[in-house]
């Protein structure tokens, strides 16, 4: 599984209407720690292939309507969405094992 590039156009369908939990990486190109988090998310997406979960990235610079809606005021923020709601949120660079455990908990 590779990560989904989320936009204002597909956020509803891919995240809010998803049957499985979705991990969303809110990031921006100017943010150093986000660039550290990026490869970790990519690896997580590979590890989670075939499991009931989705992983996506949302550039808050390009799609700030969504980041504003969820009051994303610090990045990187990693949000787990389930049933159309953000059910858990982590701020700052997160280790892969921690994110995987959180996703599995909500599966």
């Amino acid at each position: 599984m590779s990560e989904i590039i989320l936009t204002e156009d597909n956020f509803d369908k891919e995240v809010l209407q998803s049957d499985v939990p979705v991990l969303v990486d809110f990031w921006a190109p100017w943010c150093g720690p986000c660039r550290v988090q990026g490869p970790i998310i990519e690896e997580l997406a590979k590890d989670m292939a075939g499991k009931p979960a989705k992983i996506g990235k949302l550039n808050v610079d390009e799609h700030n309507a969504i980041s504003t809606k969820y009051d994303i005021l610090s990045i990187p923020t990693l949000g787990i969405f389930k049933g159309g709601q953000m059910v858990e949120q982590f701020v700052g660079v997160q280790a892969k094992d921690k994110l995987q455990a959180a996703l599995e908990k909500h599966a």
């Binding site: 943010c31 720690p33 005021l73 990045i75 949120q89 280790a95 094992d97 455990a101």
Partner: protein
Amino acid sequence: MSNASEVGNIYDTIIVGAGAAGLTAAIYASRRALKTLMVTVDIGGQAATTDEIENYPGVGLVTGTDLMTKFKDSAEKFGTQIVYAEVRKISKGVDADGKPLFTVTTNTQEFKGHAIILCFGLAHRHLGVPGEEQFGAKGVSYCATCDAPLFKGKPVMVVGGGNSAVDATLLLAKICPKVYLVHRREDFKAEAFLVDQLKQDHVELVLNTEIQEIKGDTRVRSVVVKKVANAQETREIEVAGVFVEVGFIVNAKLIEGLVDLDERKQIKISRDCETSEPGVFAAGDITTISYKQIIISAGEGATAALKAYEYLQKTRGFRGVNIDWGLAKKPTTIATEIGIDAKKNNFAF
């Protein structure tokens, strides 16, 4: 990256933290052919959150992330393995020969190493005022370069008086209609050429003042400040964000009891980066060195790795790396050296 098969493996050295000190230690340890593991939450530490670096020789103007990514690429090129996890515990034990063996525990894994190099730097100092924790990531930020653009077009506040506070103010002043810089004193610790740049109409210096409370609902809406000399003299300022830049502290929980610390909880080290515990070395901002600079941390990281290598040579009988100078080779002709058959090709040498 880690996988299940690594669990229980013994490393020559385990480096905790991946800032300038840790990454340089990793480069030097790996180049000494030490089996090197780095356990870290992020890459680049404090340096990676620095917008522009101009005082690291030889690279010109560079972003902190770019410079630190180069450090990391070198470390990996020479064989360092990196595991992204938070270290929960470091404990000392002995191996079958009675020699020190350390265990580094993360949330899910356990690694063993003959030598440890502590390089996990400093953590942001918090203000310790009501509302700060509640609005963490909801308007309170400790990383201006990460979060400033999220407050574009909104009034914001910066707290502090050093270079990082002034840097944050100047960065925010480019994109925000109003920036308040709150500082406890009259004078700034920051360099003069930075302070001079604060003279802008939409930058208000709120001096001799400290934060009393951060207020809001789902996010920060205002900050109550008070005069240092008179706590009754308060003022409520409407802002959408508060950037806290009041220095750094050592997160000592992990190392208390393992190594000797000074009164500021920094790790006491010898000139060669040895701690009070044989087999445990330390480098960079977490130690008692006077200057917290990228180049100094890098140099200290190299020293720590070389000293760790010397320690392993003494305690484990490691030999120096065998360098193949080619002296053991049989004499060859130029033809065989460059891989052609002189006779067959009828070359005359």
